[in-house]
């Protein structure tokens, strides 16, 4: 086996580990640990679909479901959840993310990789006794700083006919 191929496999394994860890932290509502996976200037983007059926591409001119730059925007969302005063997260939805098929979207470098992962999230609304399923794929940009961090996450939500609400932890 070529050395490059071994490196690439090790990188893919490392990338997969981080992406699975991210999903587990969301499912366990460990928000601080989850946010610590992201770089301070990270971009989290969930585009909407255009009415003509294609995915929006320009968050500066088109509507996104979620477009947050940096930790600050998520600290607000986390604060809302922890306050116990936001009806949308009281009681908090329970989620299970199932991830599969992580692969490189482009050739990895020693300090950067772009990965695509198929995801399904089962969301249980405890008050309404209703289960919903969201699905799609993620694109993760991972950067090696002192350790690997998420610099960008794009969430493609295929079924965006949203039942009541869908916050960052539901997708």
């Amino acid at each position: 086996m070529l050395k490059n191929e071994i490196d690439s496999r090790l990188l893919l394994e490392e990338g997969r580990r981080i992406i699975l860890r991210e999903a587990a932290l969301l499912d366990d509502a460990l928000w601080d640990e989850w946010l610590a996976l992201y770089t301070p200037d990270s971009v989290f983007w969930m585009p909407t679909w255009r009415r003509c059926g294609t995915l929006t591409e320009d968050p500066g001119n088109e509507v996104s479901h979620i477009h947050v730059v940096g930790h600050a925007g998520f600290q607000e969302r986390i604060m809302r959840i922890r306050s116990g005063r936001a009806a949308a997260s009281r009681p908090l939805q329970r989620t299970s993310h199932l991830l599969s098929g992580t692969q490189f979207l482009e050739d990895p470098r020693s300090d950067f990789m772009r990965l695509r992962t198929a995801w399904v999230s089962h969301v249980y609304f405890p008050l309404a006794h209703v289960m919903e399923t969201f699905f799609g794929h993620y694109e993760h940009d991972l950067q090696l700083q002192r350790e690997w961090k998420i610099a960008r996450k794009k969430v493609v939500l295929k079924n965006d006919y949203l039942p009541t609400m869908a916050d960052f932890y539901c997708v």
């Binding site: 968050p59 088109e62 979620i66 809302r80």
Partner: protein
């Protein structure tokens, strides 16, 4: 036997200081059916913007109540609206939400129609053995009995028995003008709509758009977030007007014939939203009186299916009641065609923060509607008491502000925002019960004459 009347579910004693609505209005499937028949099928509904079908052969699909609608611009440049149903078997002729095509071909047996709704071909017609009598039938798409536009807002009606759109809108035209006149370059939807459902009655959303009382409670975390941003913490790039100072601000409401309402608040912070900055830019052109109105945060309700919020950015929501306890909402971000990139970006982030079902405010509303729907299902819950804030101080007719611009409202209020008036929510229920009862009476009369 006496049939129950919609007016039996509304206790309109506003003259004596009380008004209440029976919870069955939100939970009774029979009432839902009456609403579909005598409201959504019987009056004007908002369909789309003219700019969404800007070029010949452009189309969009939407709904009025549960009826699928196809809106097109034909070769002559006219905007048309049809039942989105093939004359052959009733299948949806157009299965896309938006696009451009000279020919709508039904996916089932390929009957095809042009953008004017005219049948262009019946597939394999020559060998069909159709009689002349069949060939002489009208095969065109069924045009809505009424389609009219005002300042780029396209409305349609499934009934011909409606007043002209200008009469239906009445003084709401002044308020639509405020939105349009601020941007001489025109308005459009920004691409990417959000569509969501909630498991509760459509009228909960209707009321909530006129409800300032819930802001400090249901949206207390949104206000916390805004406070943090004002202090330089959090997502400061999406700054907003100060919500803490609001209770001392002047607030008012106006209601109109046909059930339309406007809730407004005098915002102190002129730099807090792109649309307020635009209002100040428009001031030399439109004059102080109109510019002052443009500077007020305003929520509009156009009975029955449309809300416009010219407040936390510029938003249009369309109601589609699916069942008595299930409602679909489609929301659009309305924006000037010409806008500096920084303003556009700021507008989008403000819009998403507040109005998205994945944002920081709207999900809290939708979830509490579901709480309401559960509570309203309680056996023995009597008349609701959520329509009476401001009943002591409201007046039938206009006030100095409305007279200054020549409006003729049915009711008005004005006072400190801290009163959090609810009284404006009464007016849509007057239109609601009048329309249902009139429709039921007509049905009974025509049944009796058979």
């Amino acid at each position: 036997m006496r049939f129950p009347r919609a007016s039996d579910y509304i206790r309109d004693e506003a003259v004596n200081g009380t008004f209440s609505v029976h919870p069955d209005v939100f939970t009774d499937p029979g009432i839902f059916d009456l609403e579909q028949r005598h409201i959504f099928r019987s009056t004007w509904s908002f369909l789309t913007l003219e700019s969404e079908v800007g070029r010949p052969n452009d189309f969009i699909t939407t709904h009025i109540g549960n009826t699928p609608i196809l809106v097109t611009r034909d070769k002559q440049g006219r905007v048309n609206a049809f039942l989105n149903a093939c004359r052959h078997k009733g299948a949806l002729v157009c299965v896309e939400q938006q696009g451009n095509t000279p020919l709508h071909v039904c996916p089932y047996h390929a009957w095809s129609y042009d953008a004017g709704g005219k049948l262009r071909s019946i597939r394999d017609a020559s060998a069909a053995g159709y009689t002349d009598r069949f060939r002489n039938l009208d095969h065109n798409l069924i045009a809505l009995p009424k389609v009219e536009a005002y300042r780029g807002f396209v409305f349609g009606s499934l009934s011909a028995d409606v007043p002209p759109l200008s009469d239906f809108l009445g003084d709401m035209r002044f308020f639509l003008d405020l939105i349009v006149d601020r941007y001489p370059g025109g308005l459009r939807y920004l691409p990417g709509s959000t569509v969501y459902t909630y498991r509760a009655n459509w009228k909960l959303q209707m009321e909530n758009g006129m409800d300032s009382y819930h802001l400090n409670t249901a949206h207390s975390t949104f206000i916390d977030v805004m406070d943090r941003r004002a202090r330089g913490e959090g997502n400061v790039a999406v700054r907003e007007v100060s919500w803490r100072k609001r209770e001392n601000l002047q607030q008012g409401s106006l209601t109109f014939d046909h059930g339309h309402t406007v809730l407004w608040v005098d915002e102190g912070d002129t730099e807090g939203r792109p649309d307020y900055i635009a209002a100040e830019r428009a001031r030399p052109r439109v004059g102080d009186v109109k510019a002052d109105w443009m500077r007020r945060g305003r929520n509009y309700y156009l009975f029955p299916n449309m809300q416009i919020q010219d407040s936390q950015s510029l938003m249009i929501r369309i109601f589609r009641p699916i069942g008595v306890g299930l409602t679909e909402m489609t929301a659009f971000c309305l924006a000037p065609v010409d806008e500096e990139p920084a303003m556009r970006n700021w507008r989008l982030r403000q819009y998403e923060d507040f109005f998205n079902p994945s944002g920081l405010a709207t999900p809290d509303d939708s979830v509490v509607y579901e709480h309401c729907q559960q509570g309203m299902g309680s056996v023995g819950l009597p008349w609701l008491q959520g329509y009476s804030r401001g009943t002591r101080d409201f007046i039938f007719g206009g006030n100095a502000l409305s007279e200054e611009v020549g409006l003729h409202p049915a009711t008005t209020t004005i006072g400190p925002m801290g009163a959090f008036v609810e009284v404006l929510m009464q007016q849509p229920y007057r239109a609601w019960s009048t329309m249902i009862d009139k429709g039921v009476e007509q049905d009974l009369r025509s049944a009796a004459s058979c």
